[in-house]
């Protein structure tokens, strides 16, 4: 039973355009959401997060949107750059037990 779902295994986006990565969750106890970026042979690197009391958080080229009623969040990267090519993991945390649950990831390819 996947509590955090990333339904797109991969995504290709032209350099300079906007990349939109989506994530859905099922557990209403989640109240903190995170995005991680992972390059091959490296551990995941924290990118951006959002608390459930907000609907948007922005950090430079990265913006995360949260729709609590739909249990959906998305990561927007604009403009997309070649170095953004990586696997992106959506993760969720519950204040009840501090467990962090990850989705399966979306591989983003930035095309020249």
């Amino acid at each position: 039973d996947q509590q955090v779902k990333q339904n797109s295994p991969s995504l290709s986006v032209q350099e300079g355009r906007i990349s939109i990565l989506n994530c859905d969750y099922t557990n209403s106890m989640f109240d903190y959401f995170l995005w991680y970026k992972k390059y091959p042979a490296e551990g995941p690197t924290f990118l951006i997060s959002i608390s459930s009391i907000k609907d948007k958080n922005e950090d430079g080229r990265f913006t995360v949107f949260l729709n609590k009623s739909a249990k959906h969040l998305s990561l927007h990267i604009v403009p997309s750059q070649p170095g953004d090519s990586a696997v992106y993991f959506c993760a969720a945390r519950s204040n009840r037990d501090d467990k962090i649950i990850f989705g399966k990831g979306t591989r983003l390819h930035i095309l020249p």
Binding site: L34, E42, P44, S49, F89, N95, D98, K104
Partner: protein, 114 residues
């Protein structure tokens, strides 16, 4: 500031052999996690420590896996005996306590069981 340090980076062993992984978390991080990541999947939590106490080990296959975090700092994860299906990347992460903090990951140990 040093990040989460894991060793070894790579390990190849024959099935039925034991193996151990070591993790040194970020200084001051009371919470430590061990995750397993299979190919094409996201990290799956094996065990979570708050200081030296294992507060969540519900996903740890206790018949062959064990972990310890003596003195609430470094941690080791052991598999004995290893099976072919244990081949994966084992990730250690640490974070400050509290719900709204991010976890920082080490580079992981890639285990291959042959």
């Amino acid at each position: 500031e040093a990040g989460v340090v894991q060793s070894p980076r790579y390990k190849i062993i024959e099935k039925k052999q034991p193996v151990a992984f070591w993790c040194n978390p970020i200084s001051g991080h009371n919470t430590l996690y061990w995750y397993r990541q299979n190919l094409g999947q996201g990290p799956e939590l094996l065990i979570r420590y708050e200081n030296e106490e294992a507060v969540d080990d519900s996903q740890l296959p206790k018949d062959r896996f064990s972990a310890e975090r003596l003195k609430g700092v470094d941690s080791t994860l052991k598999i004995q005996p290893a099976e072919l299906g244990d081949s994966a990347v084992y990730l250690c992460a640490s974070s400050l306590p509290g719900g709204h903090t991010e976890a920082f990951f080490g580079q992981g140990t890639r285990l291959t069981v042959v």
